[in-house]
Symmetry: C2
Subunit: 194 residues, 2 copies
Amino acid sequence: MSGRAGTSKRLADVPRSAAQTRVVTAALGLFARHGVNGTSLQMIADELGVTKAAIYHQFPTKDEIVIAAVEVELVKVEAALDAADAEPDPHRALDLVLTQVIDSAVAQRGMVGVVQHDPVIVRHLARHRPFRDLMQRLSAVLTRGDAGVDARVRAAMVSAAIGGAVVHPLVADVDDDTLRTEVRRLAGDLLDRD
Amino acid sequence: MSGRAGTSKRLADVPRSAAQTRVVTAALGLFARHGVNGTSLQMIADELGVTKAAIYHQFPTKDEIVIAAVEVELVKVEAALDAADAEPDPHRALDLVLTQVIDSAVAQRGMVGVVQHDPVIVRHLARHRPFRDLMQRLSAVLTRGDAGVDARVRAAMVSAAIGGAVVHPLVADVDDDTLRTEVRRLAGDLLDRD
DNA sequence: GTCTATATGAAGATAGAC
DNA sequence: GTCTATCTTCATATAGAC
């Protein structure tokens, strides 16, 4: 996938080295289990079998690791939003985004949840321009441009439901395929029903 | 599973002093904003205008504060579950619980979310018997005893949606009353629709 | 119930060798 | 790219006076 437009507001313009990717992958898993504040550089280092200093050689601060980790998840959402923008039918556009977000959430149970709920990440989401813009695009698709209270509450609920449901103990034993299908169907119901 | 005998599995059997209540209230607010790991005893102390040592005089460890804080929120849920147990009509029983949980979530936007999503609290929820039992009772009401996948996914989504939606930026400007009504209606839809 | 003072450890982060 | 060693700051937690 390429065709990058000239906008400066996009994610992931920075290529990562193999070592950086390893750090981010390890961090993402630990963030999902322990939260950002509950994950120390020592834990990331231990996970990779290296020392903290080796991590600091790859990223100047812990914050940069957090941002890179969030980007890994959001790039997929961005791609889905790009596809949605190219789709004239708003109903199909919504379907593209919903399916992708749910797939991500189910595939890596916990990742989407941590992006939505971890206080540290939420702060980053609110502060960094590219993140804010992306969340706004996502909201626009979920509400289908409807700025009314009803549409916004639905969008907020669907958004929260997807991230939260996949890690809920109640569905821990449900296989990925079933979970994906069920959540997709119910999310659609919640958004569409009048 | 109605008549609850004098089991020892109930919450909040321990009376708290005024000073303890002050600590827990301050802690709860900070937990919601910064997460448990992001909240230090110093922050709690500062919030109350006292020193850390004064806090330690009230609670032996930070963990105990976390447990007490979670109890404050869950006692309300427990009361609603008790009322639901006394209600023969399962549809009305569900309504009682749903309304109470949503009221709590909206009244203290963030509290319910932190209980559901903070990794530290989730760990406590999974470990402590009274908490586990309570969550199980809540799940039973939300699924109305249906152990099928569909019912469990719905329950998980509703549960996550309530906690997550009320803190979503999309609905930050919606007043409490409207939010309560909208969320209650959509939660009911999600659970009932076939 | 609150304080001052302190112990102990782990956190994020840096310098410089290999 | 990784290491050892070190710095600073802040965390949880304790002892004992008022």
